[in-house]
Symmetry: C2
Subunit: 712 residues, 2 copies
C-alpha cells in the first residue's frame, strides 16, 4: 500500500485502538481517548491495557489480539522498548496503520536510531505504515477525529473545518499554529504531525493533501526536506490543481541546523538553496508563524490576482502612505489609475480626499457609505486593477456597516479584496468577525496585509505561468557512464558539442608532436600545461599567452615544462594545449553545477571578481532551467547592471548567456545525477551580438574511476 | 512661553472650553464633550455654542467671552473660516492653549496653507500655542483626560496608565495603535496627535516626554521630521535620562512621499538618511505598528540588557531551532554556555533534552516545574548571559503555573526575561494576562520576541556607550566665509591643513612660469589642467601622467593646452597643476559631505568602481563622527572585506582612513552648515601603515559668489 493510501486510512478511520491507554486523562496516554470521547467519535474505540477492564465507559482489552472487530488505526502509547512486540501483534491482528507517540528513537542517539531502523524494517515486511514516532498525532477536522494528545484538541469551541491542509514536523509548533489559525476563523481539512517521520513524512502529507478534494490550500512546517525530488514533483500538482503550497522551514541558521540534528534527527539543507529552488517551483515561502497564518487566510478565499497591480483605499491619508511604502518594498505595483477611473472616483469623494492611488475616501465615507461602495464598484470593474486593499481604523456600528458592504461587494467579484482594520478588539472585533465569517481576509496592520497579498500575487502568477517542459540541444545526447575528473580539454569538447563556444585548440602530447604540427595553428595562441595534478596552472608557470608563431610556441613549450617540473617534479604531465587567444570587451562569469543532497543537480552562476569573492553573489536554480528562469537568475545578481551596460559601457550578450545557462542545465539534467561538480570559469560574455566563450572548465563525476581517468 | 510649557498646560488642564460643541454626541464636535463626561473629568468644562443654553447637564455659553472662569485649554471644533475670529476671542479671554480639530488648512492646498500661516502668525503675536489643526486631539492617560474625538477615547474598559508617552502625526494611526497597545496591557502617560503641526510638532512632544517624570519610554509616529536638529539634540537627553525613543516613520517610498505631501503637507526626507542618522543617535527604528507595540512592551519593563548574549529555553526542540535562526538573522548572539552552567543544566533536565543553548527542558518541565525554575535561576546568575528567552506552547492550568513561576523569578532579577507563548487565546490567555499584569513581556511568536529583544539590546548598548564629544584636529580652524566653488588646488590645501596627505604639487599659471620653475619639481609628476569650466579633465585631454623631467613637462603643457582649447574654446584656464605621481597598492574610496535639509551636514563614504556605480553602496552619518562611528561606517560597506584584505591581498590602512573620516567630518561640522557639497574622490587607501592620499576634491559652498571665485 502506498503512503498516500495509508494516509487516507489514517485520516479516515472507522475504528481506532489505543494501545497503552491510561485512566489518567491528563497524561499523554490518557488524552487520546479523552479527546476522541470529547469530540464524540462515531466509530469504534478500543482501549488496550491489561491493567483495566473498562475506561471511560468502554471495554478495555488486554491486548490488540483480544479486540473483537477490525482496527483501522492503532494509536501506540507504549514505551519504545515494547515496540517490536507490538508490531508482531499488529501483524497478527492485521492492523496496518499506526501512530507512534513515544520518544526514545532516532532523536536520542545511536541506540534509538538503531531501534527506529529495526522497527521500520519490520513494519515494511509486515505491510504496516507508521506515523511518528515522537509525534503528538493527527486530526481530521471535517469529521472531528482527533488522534493524539495535542493541547488544541481540547478546545471547547469545536473545530472549524475548511480548505487548509497542514503537515508539521513539529507537534508543538504545528498544533499551536493550528489553534491560533482557528481562532482567526481559518478552516482546516487535516492537520498531521510527522515527528521523527521514520516512514510517512511531511512531503508525503503534502502530496496527499494536494490530491484531496476537500483541501484547497496546503501548508507545511518543515525542519528538513525528507524528499526533495518528491517536493519538486509536487510543484506541477500544485499548479495543475491550482493549490498553493505554503512552507515554513526552520533550521536556517548554522546553529539552528545543529539544533535540528539533535532534535528530530533530520538533516536541514542550505537555506539559500531551499529558498531559491522553492521559489523556482512556485512554493510560497513564509518567514514565521504569523506570516503562515496570514497566508493561509488569504489563500482560503480561493481568489487569485491576475497581476501585481494594487489599489489601496483608506479613510486616512497616513494609512495610504504606509501602504505605498510597503508595496514598493515588497514589489507590488501601486498602479496609476486610468484617467477614466480617476475622474469617476474624484466625482465620488470629497474634495479634500485623494482620487489618486492610494485613494483617500476620507472619514466622510463612513457616514455616506455609498462613497466607499461606489469606489469599490468602480475598481472591481477596472481591468487594470488586480487587487484592492481597503484600510480603516473605524469600528463600532459604522465600522460594522462598512464591513457588511464590503462583504456584499466581495461576493460579487473574483477580484481579491483585502481589508486592514487597525483598532482595538473592543471597537473593531465585530466587523472583523463578520469579515472572517464571510471569508474576506482581514488583517490588523497594513504590513501584514501587503505581505499576504504578495504571497497571493506570487502564486497567482506562478499558476498561470507556462513552464517550457521541452528540453533542448542536448536532449539526445548520451553521456554514457563517465567517472573521475574531466579536465579542460575534455570539458571544452563537451561544451563545444553543446554549441557553447570554446577557444579552438590542439593538444600536443610531446615536443615532437608540437614541432610537427605547430604551423597548423592560427596565431596568436595561448599555451597551457595539461595535468590533473596541477590545479593552479598560472601559479605553476604553466601558462604562456600571446604566442605569435611556431618558434615562440616551441620556446613556450620548453619554458612551461621547466617551470612545472620545478613546481611539482612528480606531476604526471599529459601534454600542452595550444589554443586560440580570445580577446574582446568581456565580463567574466562562472557557471557551475552542484549536486545537492535534497534537490539533485543545481545550476549556479555569478559574476567573477569581487562579486563572488567579496559579495558572495550567486544565483541558484534546480536544473534544468528554461530561458525565462535563466533570465531571472541573471536579474537576481547584484552585478546584473553590468550585463545591461552601465555608464556608457556596452550591453553584453545576455541572450547568448541565457542560451548557455539553459544548455549547461540541460546537460546536467541528462547526466541524471552523475555530476558531483562542474565549473565553467571563466565564461566570457562579450558585447551584444558577439556571444560568449568558455575559457576553462572542469567536471568532477560522482563515480570515482582512477583507471578510466588515467587512460583518457 | 515655550512649546514645552504649553504642552504641560495642554496635557494638564483644570478647565476646558469646547468651542463649537454639538448636541449630537456621535459627531466630531459632540464627541469631545461626551468623552470628558464619560471619563468623569474633574475640572471645569465650558461648552460654547450660541445655539444652546445647556448640553449634557452643563451650562453652554454663547462665546468664549461669556465663560465666567479661566480657560486653560480651548478645544476648537468650528470651521476653518471662523478661526481668525476665534483667535481674537482667545486673546481677549486670555486663553493660551488651543487644540484645532478642523481641516481646511495646509492639507487642502494653497488657500488653506495661506490661512494656516495667517492663523499661526496671529497666534504667535497673541502668545497662543496651538495643537493641530487637522488633529483628533490628545490624552492625559494618568488623569484620564481625553481631549478630542479619537474612537479609542470611547473605551468602556478605562485607560491603563503607565510609562509610555506617544506622539503621532496621524490621528487615525496613532490612536488605533494606542488602543491596540492598551489591549495588550501596555500603560501610557500621554498620547498626543499633532496633525498639521503648524506650531507644536511631534519632536516637541518627544522633547516634553523625555523630560517628564511619568514617562519612561517615548514613542513617535512621524510622517516627516519637522525639526531634525532638535531630534538630534534629544538623543543626549534620551541617553542621559535612559529613556528610549522608538520611532516609526512612514513616507519611505517615493510614492509614499508623494502621498505625504498631499496629506499633511509635510516633507518626508530620504529614508536612507533618516535610518542612518537615527541609528547613529541611538533611536530605535521600527518597521510597522506591530513592531512598535512589541517595542513599547519590552521597554515598559524598564530593564536593560548588558549585551547581546541570549539564552533561549523551551520545552520543544523545534522552537529552539527557530529562535536560533532568528537570533542569527538579527545579530543576537546565542551564547555558548560556560561549562559550569551547562553541566548544572544537564543535571536538571531529562537526558533527551538539550543543555546546550538553545536549551530544551522538554515537556517534563511542565510537570516538574522546578526543572524550569532552577534552570532560570542558574541563568539569571550567570554573568555571561545578558537576556533569557523562554518559549512554550503550553497553556491551561500547568501553563498558568509556569507563568507564575516566571513572574516570581523575573521580580528577583534586573536581567530581562522575555516569554513567547505560542497558542490559542482559549488555552494560553490566562497565563499571558498574568505575565502582562506583572510587566513580563510576552509575545505570540518567536520572531516578534527576538525583534523586540534586539531593540532592547540596541538601546541598552547605546545608552552605555561613551560618545567622544571632543573634536580634534580642526577644532581651532577658522574657515571664514567661503563662497562659490573650491576646486582641486584649494581643496588639497585645505585637506593638507587637516593633516590629510595630498600629492605635493605646484601650480603654473602660464608657460613662462613653468619654464622658470620646472626643475624645482621631483619627478615623475602628473600634469592637470586647472579650470572650473572643465569638469571632466581626462575626457578633455587635460591630464598627462608619468612625466619624467622638465622637458616632458613643457611638452605636456603644450599638449594639454591644445587639447582643452579644442574641447572647449571659451573655457577660462587658470593654469596647470604639476604634482607628485603617487603609486602603490591602493583601494579607491570617495568621501563626501552632503547638506541635508533635515539633519545638516552628513558625511558619506564608499568604495569606488562598481561598489558605487552598480551597487550604490555608501555609508551615511551626521557629521561629526568619532573614531568608533567612522569604523562602523566602514564596516557597513559591502566592500569592507577589501579593506580588511581578502584572498592574500594585504590589509589596507583602515586606521588612517578612520582618521580621515573623522577629520573631514569635523571640518564639515565647523563649517557650520556652510558647505553645500564636498567630494574627495578618489581617496586612495594604501596598505596598512602606508596611509591614505586624496587625489582630487571639490567643495561647493552654499553661498554663491562668482566674484570671489573668479578672483581666488
Amino acid at each position: 500500500m502506498s503512503k498516500k493510501q495509508a494516509l487516507d486510512y489514517l485520516l479516515n478511520p472507522s475504528s481506532i485502538a489505543i494501545v497503552g491507554v491510561s485512566k489518567d486523562f491528563t497524561s499523554i496516554s490518557g488524552k487520546p481517548l479523552k479527546n476522541l470521547l470529547h469530540h464524540k467519535f462515531t466509530g469504534e474505540i478500543y482501549p488496550v491495557n491489561p491493567k483495566y477492564d473498562e475506561i471511560g465507559g468502554l471495554t478495555c482489552y488486554p491486548s490488540l489480539l483480544d479486540i473483537p472487530g477490525e482496527v483501522d488505526v492503532a494509536l501506540i502509547a507504549v514505551s519504545s522498548k515494547r515496540m517490536m512486540q507490538i508490531l508482531d501483534q499488529c501483524k497478527e491482528k492485521g492492523v496496518h496503520h499506526l501512530v507512534l507517540f513515544g520518544s526514545g528513537f532516532a532523536e536520542v542517539g545511536e541506540e534509538g536510531a538503531a531501534l527506529q531502523k529495526e522497527v521500520l524494517e519490520k513494519a515494511k515486511q509486515s505491510g504496516i505504515h507508521i506515523l511518528g514516532p515522537n509525534c503528538v498525532g493527527l486530526l481530521n477536522v471535517k469529521k472531528a477525529i482527533p488522534m493524539g494528545f495535542a493541547t488544541s484538541f481540547e478546545t471547547v469551541a469545536g473545530f472549524k473545518s475548511g480548505p487548509v491542509g497542514f503537515a508539521s514536523q513539529s507537534g508543538a509548533v504545528g498544533f499551536s499554529l493550528f489553534g491560533m489559525a482557528q481562532e482567526e476563523n481559518i478552516g482546516f481539512s487535516y492537520v498531521v504531525n510527522t515527528g521523527n517521520q521514520m516512514d510517512i513524512h511531511s512531503i508525503d502529507c503534502i502530496e496527499y493533501m494536494l490530491e484531496d478534494v476537500d483541501t484547497k490550500v496546503v501548508a507545511g512546517y518543515l525542519e528538513g526536506i525528507p524528499d526533495g525530488e518528491l517536493l519538486i514533483k509536487l510543484s506541477s500538482v500544485s499548479k495543475e490543481n491550482d493549490k498553493p503550497v505554503i512552507l515554513l522551514k526552520s533550521g536556517r541558521s548554522e546553529l539552528g541546523q545543529q539544533a535540528a540534528l539533535s532534535h528530530t534527527a533530520s538533516l536541514t539543507g542550505s537555506d539559500e538553496t531551499f529558498r531559491a529552488v522553492a521559489k523556482q517551483y512556485g512554493f510560497i515561502i513564509v518567514n514565521d508563524l504569523d506570516d503562515m497564518i496570514d497566508a493561509m487566510k488569504i489563500f482560503s478565499t480561493g481568489k487569485r490576482a491576475k497581476g501585481n497591480r494594487v489599489v489601496t483605499i483608506s479613510n486616512s491619508g497616513a494609512a495610504g502612505i504606509v501602504m505605498a511604502d510597503y508595496s514598493e518594498e515588497l514589489g507590488l505595483e501601486m498602479v496609476q489609475l486610468s484617467e477614466r477611473t480617476a475622474q469617476k472616483v474624484k466625482e465620488l469623494i470629497p474634495s479634500y480626499g485623494s482620487a489618486l492611488n492610494p485613494i483617500d475616501v476620507t472619514a466622510q465615507a463612513l457616514k455616506e457609505q455609498h462613497i466607499l461602495t461606489e469606489t469599490l464598484e468602480l475598481l472591481i470593474h477596472d481591468p487594470d486593477v488586480d487587487a484592492i486593499v481597503f484600510q480603516t481604523t473605524f469600528g463600532g456600528e459604522l465600522g460594522l456597516k462598512i464591513c457588511e458592504k464590503i462583504i456584499e461587494i466581495d461576493a460579487k467579484t473574483t477580484k481579491p479584496i483585502i481589508v486592514t482594520i487597525t483598532g482595538t478588539e473592543e471597537l473593531t472585533g465585530e466587523g472583523r468577525l463578520a469579515l472572517q465569517n464571510a471569508g474576506v481576509p482581514v488583517y490588523a496592520t497594513s504590513y501584514k496585509t501587503m505581505v499576504a497579498l504578495k504571497h497571493l500575487v506570487d502564486f497567482s502568477l506562478f499558476s498561470t505561468r507556462t513552464k517550457t517542459e521541452e528540453l533542448g540541444a542536448y536532449s539526445n545526447g548520451n553521456i554514457g557512464n563517465p567517472a573521475g575528473v574531466w579536465t579542460e580539454v575534455k570539458v571544452k569538447e563537451t561544451l563545444s558539442k553543446l554549441g557553447i563556444r570554446v577557444p579552438q585548440g590542439k593538444v600536443f602530447a610531446n615536443k615532437e608532436q608540437l614541432q610537427q604540427h605547430k604551423n597548423e595553428l592560427k596565431y596568436p595562441v595561448v599555451c597551457k600545461v595539461l595535468s590533473d595534478e596541477i590545479l593552479h596552472k598560472t601559479d605553476a608557470g604553466g601558462v604562456k599567452v600571446n604566442i605569435k608563431n611556431g618558434d615562440e610556441l616551441a620556446a613556450a613549450y620548453d619554458g612551461i615544462m621547466q617551470a612545472v617540473t620545478a613546481y611539482n617534479p612528480s606531476a604526471r604531465i599529459e601534454g600542452v594545449l595550444a589554443e586560440e587567444m580570445i580577446e574582446g570587451d568581456a565580463i567574466e562569469l562562472f557557471v557551475g553545477i552542484k549536486d545537492d543532497p535534497q534537490f539533485g543537480s543545481l545550476i549556479v552562476c555569478g559574476l567573477g571578481g569581487i562579486f563572488i569573492e567579496v559579495l558572495k553573489d550567486a544565483s541558484i536554480r534546480k536544473a534544468p532551467v528554461n530561458r525565462l528562469e535563466a533570465k531571472e537568475m541573471l536579474m537576481e545578481l547584484k552585478g546584473y547592471p553590468l550585463l545591461e551596460g552601465i555608464r556608457g559601457s556596452a550591453k553584453k550578450d545576455i541572450n547568448k548567456l541565457i542560451d548557455t545557462l539553459v544548455k549547461v542545465s540541460e546537460f546536467a539534467f541528462h547526466a541524471n545525477g552523475k555530476i558531483a561538480e562542474m565549473d565553467i570559469n571563466p565564461l566570457w560574455v562579450f558585447e551584444d551580438g558577439y556571444g560568449v566563450a568558455a575559457l576553462d572548465g572542469v567536471i568532477v563525476w560522482k563515480e570515482k574511476d582512477r583507471v578510466t581517468q588515467a587512460n583518457r
